[in-house]
């Protein structure tokens, strides 16, 4: 009797854990792929055209392309938790930050023969630009009390034009192959660099959450702004901070995106990535209206989305239909997180347990 109870509570704990939904989705996708074609999980070592040994395979592809999304999911989770809304300007600000980076790297010339400034300087400029965009969004939301989605609509609409304007509508190409390392491989390292960049971001945010009160304060502001103010937290500052951190994440994602091809295309770079980032937060079981959050679940959610995308590509689903499949995921998420469905499921579960007890 006590044993079943233990098992019961373990199950309940598992199901109620926030990581449960993304983990389940991941396992489900893995099983589908395993049944359909086990070679999905094969990882092989080969030479790339630069003459380096690199790992390849679907799993590596997922880790590689999922990294930008994972990085963005970090910032998006904080913004969601603090402001109870989402930033939809992420893709456009990636274009702005990327454009600024290229402008500095190429010294304002479209076709330079060598890089004008070290990559690190260009990256810092991009960080600054990304944080400024975040500050702009954050100020609108926190000080002017505009709904996050409306406030960020401004940069969503104007961002790509601003990005084009920064480089005078030209598409600069970085001549140095070393710049490609950030979105590709460093010679001698068989794992994509993007994996390390994502890992670094995750470690940094883990340290920040552990050694500062950022997580606690963000949650407090998200749950009840007024009472958090009464307890000495400055909600305006916390909200702006969340947007600025997202801006920083955007700059890192921009570095990866721009580095992948050593150039930029303002109208399509990181297109619709904000939707994937928001989906990652939702898939992580975070409340989209703010409050409690779990960054790890969001990051896992990001990789699950990339897993889904890669799987769909593997099944040769027409790429313009990808959005439709993601929509199905959204529908399932929304339905299962709806209070009425939850209540029903809860009742159902209780009944089941009650029956067991009787038996």
């Amino acid at each position: 009797m006590s044993k079943t109870k233990e098992k019961d509570s373990f199950l309940r704990r598992l199901v109620s854990n926030q990581m449960f939904i993304p983990l389940m989705a991941l396992v489900l996708l893995a099983i589908i792929n395993l049944i359909h074609d086990p070679s999905f999980f094969k990882i092989s070592m080969g030479l790339n055209n630069a003459g380096n040994h690199v790992l390849s395979g679907y799993l590596i592809t997922i880790l590689d392309y999922g990294s930008e999304l994972a990085i963005l999911a970090i910032g998006m989770t904080l913004v969601t938790a603090a402001s109870g809304g989402q930033d939809i300007s992420v893709g456009a600000t990636i274009a702005i930050a990327g454009s600024a980076m290229l402008h500095v790297l190429c010294g304002g010339v479209a076709r330079p023969t060598e890089v004008a400034t070290p990559v690190i300087v260009a990256f810092l400029v991009a960080c600054l630009v990304g944080m400024l965009c975040g500050l702009f969004n954050g100020a609108l939301v926190a000080i002017f009390k505009i709904q996050p989605m409306i406030a960020t609509l401004i940069l969503f609409t104007a961002g790509r034009s601003i990005a084009a304007w920064i480089n005078n509508n030209e598409l600069p190409i970085v001549p140095d192959p070393k710049f490609g390392y950030f979105g590709g491989f460093i010679p001698g390292v068989p794992i994509p660099t993007t994996v390390f960049i994502a890992a670094a971001c995750i470690v940094v945010i883990a340290l920040v959450l552990k050694f500062t009160n950022l997580g606690l304060y963000t949650q407090a502001v998200g749950i009840n702004e007024k009472s958090s103010r009464l307890n000495g937290i400055n909600p305006t500052l916390i909200k702006i901070l969340a947007f600025v951190i997202l801006g920083l994440c955007v700059a890192v994602a921009a570095l990866i995106k721009v580095s992948r091809l050593s150039t930029i295309n303002y109208s399509v770079i990181a297109k619709d990535i904000e939707m994937d980032a928001i989906l990652a937060v939702a898939l992580g079981g975070n409340s989209l209206s703010g409050g409690k959050f779990n960054i790890w679940a969001s990051i896992l959610g990001a990789y699950v989305i990339q897993f889904l995308t890669t799987t769909l590509y593997k099944f040769e689903v027409s790429s313009d239909a990808l959005a439709a499949y993601k929509a199905v995921v959204v529908i399932l998420l929304v339905v299962f997180s709806a209070p009425s469905v939850r209540e029903y499921l809860g009742r159902f579960g209780k009944q089941l347990r009650a029956k067991k007890e009787v038996a």
């Binding site: 070679s39 080969g46 030479l47 790339n48 055209n49 630069a50 690199v54 390849s56 395979g57 679907y58 592809t61 392309y65 076709r111 609409t157 790509r160 034009s161 990005a163 084009a164 509508n169 030209e170 598409l171 190409i173 590709g184 491989f185 995106k257 992948r260 091809l261 150039t263 295309n265 303002y266 109208s267 399509v268 770079i269 990181a270 297109k271 995308t309 890669t310 590509y313 593997k314 040769e316 027409s318 790429s319 313009d320």
Partner: protein, 343 residues
């Protein structure tokens, strides 16, 4: 009391606004409420409107690609006050927004409506309105599915011919078997239809031609990279990348590079692109790619000529003007070609 005063003030301003609209409504900047990105080149303050030819130009977003950037710059350089034009520009990649912009231009009573349509369908009624208002319509760059009587001239690239030139070139390479990864542009655009059509026909006709995968990357390099990456991960065999623009070819090549698959002249995979961006032609020159099809973005001088003809009272000699276009082979391209045709 205060409220009353405010209401009166507002009413007064509104009436003034109406009067203002009535007096110079003809010159007011076109504003579209639907979000189409409209921008006036300049307000015509002192210039007598009779001297300038008023043109409304509807184009795709200039940030879409290098082709569009070159196209837009070419138009902006031609339709200036110095050349006798008063031009307003509207940009959108969406057909409905473009149609809205067209309606706005008709209301603003432009003399000429220049149009590069995002989609081929849905233009009949708005062009009929333009015709009824006595506005000359000139299509550039892209054709539409509408009756020929609805426009005065159309200056286009023959996308079917572009596709056919490219496919003929590919057939001339004499491979034993053709295993093609076909990366398409935005579905439904004229460029996509023309460039896909030629390849589809050839694949259907020849037994040794085969499509490994056919996916749209929507002119997006990143998507193209993922599509090709997926084919490589799946262990598919292929020897041709047929990408419908340069950006997508670049994305595909990035995936090939990461997987250690050689490409270019005399290598494992033939890489084909379109649009002749300068950087793409340089890839050809370096023999990393094999073929690039031209899509001529410089239509402004053609349009100017036609407007001059219509202004002088005669009809344009030909309704459809097809621009000269080339296809470049990596083995024969020269630095001169790169400088001359690169955009």
């Amino acid at each position: 009391m205060k409220k009353k005063l405010l209401t009166m003030l507002m009413a007064a301003t509104m009436t003034m606004g109406l009067v203002a609209c009535g007096s110079n409504g003809g010159e007011a900047a076109p504003t579209t409420d639907g979000g189409a990105d409209t921008e006036t080149a300049e307000t015509t303050e002192a210039a007598p409107s009779g001297d300038l030819i008023k043109v409304g130009i509807i184009n795709n977003d200039p940030n879409e690609s290098g082709y569009r950037t070159a196209n837009d710059a070419d138009l902006k350089a031609m339709f200036t006050k110095e050349n006798g034009y008063d031009a307003s520009f509207a940009y959108s990649l969406k057909n409905d927004e473009q149609i809205q912009a067209a309606q706005q231009f008709i209301q603003d009573d432009v003399d000429y409506l220049l149009l590069s349509a995002a989609d081929t369908a849905g233009w009949d009624s708005v062009l009929q309105d333009a015709k009824d208002a006595g506005i000359h319509v000139i299509l550039f760059d892209r054709t539409i599915d509408a009756d020929e009587s609805l426009y005065d001239a159309s200056i286009v690239s023959d996308m079917d011919k572009e596709g056919k030139t490219a496919v003929d070139w590919l057939a001339g390479q004499g491979l034993d078997s053709y295993k093609v990864i076909h990366i398409q542009g935005v579905m439904g655009s004229a460029a996509q239809q023309g460039r896909s059509g030629a390849l589809d026909e050839k694949v259907a006709a020849e037994s040794n031609w085969e499509i490994v995968t056919q996916q749209t990357a929507e002119w997006n390099a990143e998507k193209a990279q993922q599509i090709v990456q997926s084919q490589i991960d799946a262990g598919k065999e292929f020897n041709v990348i047929y990408a419908e623009n340069d950006d997508m070819a670049k994305g595909a090549v990035a995936a090939l590079d990461a997987a250690g698959i050689s490409h270019g002249v005399g290598k494992d995979v033939i890489v084909m692109g379109f649009d002749c961006n300068k950087w793409a032609l340089e890839e050809l020159l370096a023999q990393n790619w094999n073929y690039d099809g031209q899509c001529n973005p410089f239509q402004a001088s053609y349009i100017d000529e036609i407007i001059k003809t219509i202004e002088s009272g005669s009809a344009p000699a030909e309704k459809v003007v097809i621009m000269d276009e080339k296809g470049f082979d990596a083995t024969t391209i020269t630095q001169e070609d790169v400088d001359k045709y690169g955009i």
